[in-house]
Symmetry: C2
Subunit: 362 residues, 2 copies
């Protein structure tokens, strides 16, 4: 019954928030943080049973394509679409849209992330199935996450009236999309009970989303049509390389979702979703020992050490911690990060600083 259902995994991000582990040459989705699989491999494998590999598309950049193909050899080579350079999620989704349309004009397309944690994978597949039905009924479905705390690191979706139910999941009209809030606003939204976190994942019919591009982003739409015209010809690469640099960077949220019609949200509970957006987020997704410590790689001896994370690239090194709490220690060989857990977001500041200098640390 889901034979026209396709997954589009966005895997072109670089991600500086897990620096120094995430780098230009080793983006977040390639990291093996949770188990022996990379976040990308986990993102692909949790689709099993709902999307066979031939119905999974991956949009990425040239530098990452070989590695990603190697990590997921079951996905056909031609399903990897290459952005010549990053131009925001609107263009990524547009590119996947025109590629899919050539293949199946009836396609329903799930736009998925490649670098998030989802603890409840059964629940996630059920959510994707419910969203499919919503999309078939003509809705642009956003996957929401019922908030468990007043997060300031995520965007929010304000729910309106209930539209109905699919597979036991309620679906609501969307009143508005909201940017990452301050702490007070986040607390208010949590209290109202009618806001969900924006997971950045969407499900819709291909014809419908392309109509929205035509209506709301005519310039990008023309550029995409030019690329689509050359898609099945020998001029595909040349056209893409020529047109893509002219595209104005834009996100799908700003460019399409905020002004779209028939936008709906299915808020999901108990997915144990986490965007693994910073080192401190690992405390939420990985089990700690009795002292709440998480040790990844290396050998560790801890005296009076608690609520701390130790990551080491090299298995044969010894790390000793004495009298430390709430500390993140990340050793990548060339760089050593020692950071209070509550300030883990500030690694971005360091990356920004390093970008202005001549070095190999980013």
């Amino acid at each position: 019954m889901y034979e026209n259902y396709y997954a589009v995994i966005m895997a072109g991000g670089t991600g500086t928030r897990l620096w120094p582990l995430s780098r230009k040459a080793r983006p977040k989705q390639m990291l093996r943080l949770l188990d022996e699989r990379s976040l990308f491999q986990i993102s692909v494998q949790r689709l099993q049973g709902l999307f066979p590999p031939e119905r999974i598309l991956v949009v990425t950049v040239r530098d990452q394509a070989d590695d990603l193909r190697e990590q997921s050899p079951s996905i056909p080579k031609e399903n990897f679409l290459l952005e010549p350079m990053p131009r925001g999620t609107a263009s990524v989704i547009g590119l996947a849209g025109i590629a899919l349309k050539q293949r199946d004009s009836q396609a329903v397309m799930a736009v998925l992330t490649s670098d998030h944690f989802i603890g409840n994978e059964d629940g996630f597949r059920n959510l994707l199935a419910a969203a499919y039905h919503g999309a078939q009924d003509g809705l642009l479905v956003t996957l929401g996450i019922t908030p468990s705390f007043p997060a300031t690191g995520y965007g929010y979706i304000q729910q309106g009236d209930k539209i109905g139910e699919y597979l036991g999941r309620e679906i609501f009209h969307v009143l508005s999309f909201k940017e990452k809030p301050g702490e007070g606003q986040a607390r208010e939204m949590l209290e109202t009970g009618d806001h969900a976190w924006n997971s950045g994942m969407f499900v819709w019919r291909i014809d419908q989303i392309l109509d929205e591009f035509a209506r709301q982003m005519p310039e990008l739409n023309n550029q995409l049509r030019e690329i689509a015209g050359a898609w099945d010809s020998s001029a595909r690469v040349e056209t893409l390389e020529r047109v893509w640099p002219q595209i104005k960077p834009e996100t799908i949220d700003y460019g399409i979702m905020e002004g779209a019609e028939k936008v709906a949200v299915i808020p999901a509970e108990n997915l144990r979703w986490n965007d693994v957006g910073s080192w401190d987020s690992l405390f939420e997704v990985l089990p700690g020992d009795a002292q709440g410590n998480i040790v990844i790689g290396g050998q560790h001896i801890g005296l009076d050490t608690s609520q701390s994370l130790v990551y080491m690239d090299e298995e044969h090194r010894l790390i000793v911690t004495i009298g430390v709490n709430n500390l993140v220690v990340v050793d990548t060989g060339d760089v050593l990060l020692v950071c209070h857990k509550d300030q883990a977001q500030r690694v971005r500041q360091v990356v920004s600083q390093l970008k202005t200098e001549d070095n190999n640390f980013i």
Copy 2:
């Protein structure tokens, strides 16, 4: 006027308190912590003007001898005395004593350390000169340090009546030697004003200290006499190798000083002496930056970082600290130590643990 004055530098220690930098194969006196010179080199060079190199003896172990000779090529090769194995400071001083006696029966001998910091080197040379006069007058002179805080990491010397003055420095009878005290006792001793820290440095006439060995440590004395008998013969090495392992380990404090006659102390003020006995002691001897941070080696970026020490073996590595205070970070390539400053003494605990296991980390 000091032509019979000899320095004996004890340089056989291993020192686990600056682990992971100090190792079996890289003891504390060989570390270049304060500047480009090792602590041993500094200890030799600050004797300049008082002891020419030919009157400096170094007692060490075989494993360290080559490195030490290389670090101080001006000291004659034969001035390096090798303990076959560590047997405590009493035997070290006894060995130096018999070697010196063969050379100059009128010798005055200053027993000095190889791994301490002394900020005021002029003051130190003046102290050694004053102690020489005390020794010539038949006193066993211990060099005391006027305490600046209630230290629990040093032994103490209780001063009795004043004997007199040498070169403007007062000299006192010694009432007792005291072990490292608890905090309350340390505070009391500081308040009385008649206690000095025991620096482990001594000055005495060679005939007088050897008399004390004969009187108080007859067994060791016999062993030393046997070695002395073979000293200028081809049997020196064989005799040393045979006799030394039978020596019972003992310190000079317990074995001789506590029961000796004519023991005196010159308490020195303003020497800026420090035994560099643990990582936190470096904050007392090295200048910090505006935030009180000390960075040795490597490249450092600190956000919201204060009162912390960063040591790195490799110059090309980057270390980033964010939101940390009072932290000691030491990276020696194979080992990374991250330790609260106040718990720096506990690295010994880790070394003890590692000794029970099969590894190359100590």
